[in-house]
Structure formats: C-alpha cells, structure tokens
Symmetry: C2
Subunit: 305 residues, 2 copies
C-alpha cells in the first residue's frame, strides 16, 4: 500500500522544503504533490510533516523516514545508473560460443577485427562443438550451423557454407577420381572428429536430392586445418568448408572430388536469446561477422568468376 515513489517524492520535498518547488521541478501540480504526501502519511499512519503555507517542518517520524529513505533513494539511483544505457553503450563483455569448425575460418579474424574496432568491448570466445545451453551457461551469442536448435532463441543467418570433398591432384592421380558419392566408400577419407562429434557421414546433393555417405577413414583430426594439410600431402579425401580450401584449389594444391555433385549447403547462424530490448553491441558483433562472411563470399565470386 505504501508506494516507494511516494517516499522518494517525500525525500525530494524535504530536500527542497516546499511542495510547490518540487511540483515545478517534476512538472506536477501542487495538488498532486500534496495528495501524494498525504497518501503516504495515511499509508504509514503517521504524520511526516507539519505544514504551514510558508514552511514545512519535519515531525520526528518524518525526520526518521527522511534520513533513511534518502539513503535508499541514492542506493536505488545507483542501481538504475548501473543499467541505464546498458543496451546502448559499446562497453562490456560478450560471451560467444563457437563450434570449432567455424572458429577455424573467418570468425577468428572477424572477432579480432571487431575488438580492435571497439576497444571497450570485450569478447570472450568459447570454442566447443558441444551444443552448449546458451541461457544456462550465460552466453550472449552462439554460432551454429543449424538454424534453430532451441526456439527460445533467435537465429540470424550469417552465410551459406558449402562443404566440399577435396584431395590433392597426386592422390586423385593414384587412386582415381570418385565418380559418385557412393564411390567414396572405397577411398581413404579424412574424418573430422571433435569432442566425440564424429563427422563421418558426408552429405552431397544435386537437384534437391541428398545423398549421405558413411565414410571410412584411418585418419581423424579435431582440427579442420589438420585435415586440410593431410589432404594436401596426399593422405586422402577431406570434407571441409569450401572457404578453408578455396585458395588451395585455386593454386592447384587441392582439387574438388566428385565434381558432378554439389557439396551440401550448410547455413551458418548467429544464435542469441530472444530479447525485446536490443543490445546494441551484440547486434554490432553479429553484423560485423555477417559482413566478414559476405566479404569472403565476394572474394569467391571474384576468383571463381
């Protein structure tokens, strides 16, 4: 029944020593101030001020309330100050979880750039292929390769990531070029494995039809770049994001395998909690990553064109 804001108004009135001054200051009418103070007195069942038209005098009770409420008021102001402009300021920490496959490629650079661009924003990167619970573990942002693992989150597509199977020209010359996805079964495949997430099922598609092949491989790595190096050295066929091996393919170190089939298209998404209040720095980071991916893609077009 006692309204906190009435108490704070009372503090203001005491500070100023006048109802009307406070009314003016807060753009209220005198009667409103009068009524709210009266209401407070009624709610507390105690007289706080003796009023004459010229002077306000604190009662003992009023004095006691004033002394303590002043502190509370300041304290609450501090609390408010702590969060005002929180969504707007370009300060603070962003905790990001990134799957290892994505961290390897564009993102690391993009985030490094971002940190240089906004020196007051701190980014904490947590690389893990484990599907972390963003909310539970206090992440602000996750990069994912599936659109919506959790519907209380919001997903924004950053890019479409093509994955390709590739090998060194030497390997192809020795073992022959597989003519279909199924033919990969008889080849030496380099398998990505990270935190028990074995990616030994490779996906290809053409004309909307998807073909999944369970491949075999004696060589496994938890790092895509290691797979890439292994492929270059002729160890076998690697299935990796196109961006990773684009240059190798341009300068002939690697060639695409099963050329008749388009490698599967996988989206890369920024996933973050659904918020009705926008967090500016978070949006900036997401946007920065998206642009980094777009630039990378433009680079493809230029070199592939």
């Amino acid at each position: 029944m006692v309204k906190a804001d009435d108490i704070f108004l009372f503090v203001e009135v005491v500070d100023e020593g006048s109802f009307s001054k406070i009314a003016e200051k807060f753009e209220l009418t005198n009667s409103v101030v009068s009524k709210r103070i009266s209401r407070l007195e009624k709610a507390l069942n105690v007289q706080l001020l003796y009023r004459t038209t010229r002077k306000l005098t604190l009662t003992d009770a009023g004095s006691a309330l004033y002394g303590k409420a002043r502190i509370a008021k300041q304290s609450l102001q501090d609390a408010r100050d702590a969060v005002t402009g929180y969504g707007e300021t370009l300060k603070g920490k962003i905790k990001v979880t990134v799957p290892a496959v994505s961290a390897d490629i564009v993102l690391s650079n993009a985030i490094a750039e971002f940190c240089q661009l906004y020196p007051e924003i701190e980014v904490e990167l947590f690389v893990s292929n484990r599907m972390v619970n963003i909310l539970d573990e206090g992440f602000d942002l996750a990069i994912r390769t599936a659109p919506l693992p959790d519907s209380s989150l919001v997903a924004r597509r950053l890019m479409d990531s093509h994955w390709v199977a590739c090998a060194s020209p030497k390997y192809v010359a020795q073992k022959g070029m597989p003519q279909s996805p199924e033919a990969l079964i008889d080849h030496q495949c380099l398998v990505y494995k990270y935190e028990s997430t074995g990616a030994d099922r490779w996906s290809f598609e053409q004309d909307g039809k998807e073909t999944i092949v369970s491949v075999n491989g004696r060589y496994q790595a938890n790092n895509l770049d290691s797979l890439r190096q292994a492929a270059i050295s002729g160890l076998g066929i690697a299935y990796v994001p196109k961006v990773l091996v684009h240059e190798d393919m341009l300068n002939g170190k690697l060639v695409s395998v099963a050329p008749l089939y388009c490698a599967k298209l996988m989206g890369v998404y920024a996933v973050y909690p659904r918020s009705r209040q926008p967090d500016k720095k978070l949006n900036l980071l997401v946007e920065h990553c998206r642009e980094a991916y777009i630039k990378k893609q433009e680079y493809f077009y230029l070199t592939e064109g």
Copy 2:
C-alpha cells in the same frame, strides 16, 4: 518513467525465480507481474531476464540491477520500519513547552505520573513563558493560557483556572481589606515576572464586567511559589492561580482579598500541531493532564463544598 516498485518487484521475481510464484505471493495475477517486468525493461531500455517457461535467467544488465536494487530495497524497508507504528507505539519522546505559571502547579505532578505510567515514553519539559513557536522549535505540545495563538495548531481546554488575589490575615489586619480592585493600587502587590513578561496588570471580573488594575509592587519574583511564600509572610498581596493557594486559604494562612469580586477565569489549554494522523502517545499525555486538572478541581469542590 521507471517505477521504483517495479524494480522491487523485479528483485522479488529474481529471488523467487518465477513470475507466477511472485504473483501468488503478492496476490497478483501472472499477467500483472509479466506486464510490470516488461514495462521496467522498456523503461530502462534493457533486457533484464531471459524467460523460458521453466526458468528465468538474468542478463548481465539484470544481474547488475538485481545486485544493487536488492540493497536499495532493504534500505527502503529499513526506512519504513523506522516509522511504521510510529503513531501507535507508546514509545518515543514528547517535547512539551509549559509556561512557568502552569508548571508550578498540577502539571509537574501529572507529567511525572505519566512517565511512570508509560516507562517507554520520554517527556522533555521546557518551561518558558515565552511564546515559543511550536513548529519551528520542534515541540509536540504546548500548555497555554490562551485558546488559539496560532490557527495551524489545535487547542484543547484542560481546565478553567481561577486566579485570585490573596494576602495573609496579618497583612489584611495591618493594611486593611481592599474593597474594590481599584483599591489595590494603594497596596503592596507582589508581582510575577518571568523572562520580561511582567504580570502587573491584574484582572477581575463580576457580572461579565472586567476590571484591569495596573498594580505596583516592590517585590517581584519569577516563581509563583515565591510570591505565595511572600504573601504568607505578610509582605503583600499576591495574584496567583487559585489551585496554588487553595490549601493555604483553607488552613487560614492566606485570605482572599477583594472578596466581592470574582477573580478572572483563565482557561488552560493543550495546544499541539494539527495532525491528520493521530499520535497516540500525545493524546494520552493530553488526556492524562486533563484528568489531573479535573481531579484537582474535584478536590476544590469537596473542600469548598
């Protein structure tokens, strides 16, 4: 725009970890809690909680607000506790200003009795004939002999005080009994004087007609009892409250002078600030004083009968 009570509701919600639990606890509906938290977020322009149906998770901003607001909430609670029941409890101090003439008589005893009756109430007595400004000087109660010196105050009649002129039988025998008020001019009058308030104008009335006499006196005192003693010793005629000399007159130490004229009737009033919130202990004290006066008057009736 940000409502303090919304912030405190937010603190409650975080403590409980659920909107609906808090709704139940405070007898609100879920929708109200939801709306108020949402409103708070909108007002602060920041997301405070991530909600799922199973769990509420604090955002960084929410966490910052919670930490500080919790302190403010406790602080405000302390402030409220400091005054709740203030008007009802029989504790605390009552500052009373009493004119010397009244303090001399019944009041001192009455107040002493009152203090014994309510051990937790402290009474601070300030004896002064100066007309103190109750509000300015922080008094809770004044005893006055005039009904309403200040209209922002409230006055309650405690008793009607008769003042009488009296002298020792010896004095009357030597100097003669004055037959009219005017005759007092030729007599040795004992004048009450306190803080420059000279009471050398004595008032008598009969049949509604008032006669004021400016008396002369070589003996002045700031204490009515001294005047009484002086009168008993035969020094002259004293003009004092009847209660003061009632017993002296009964046992013949003093006799009333100018017996044909009734001494003036003066009211004794309790004067205190007009308060819309009753202060129980103050009312108790006033009532106690009133009863003390009434008892004293009953005693007169019995002995004068």
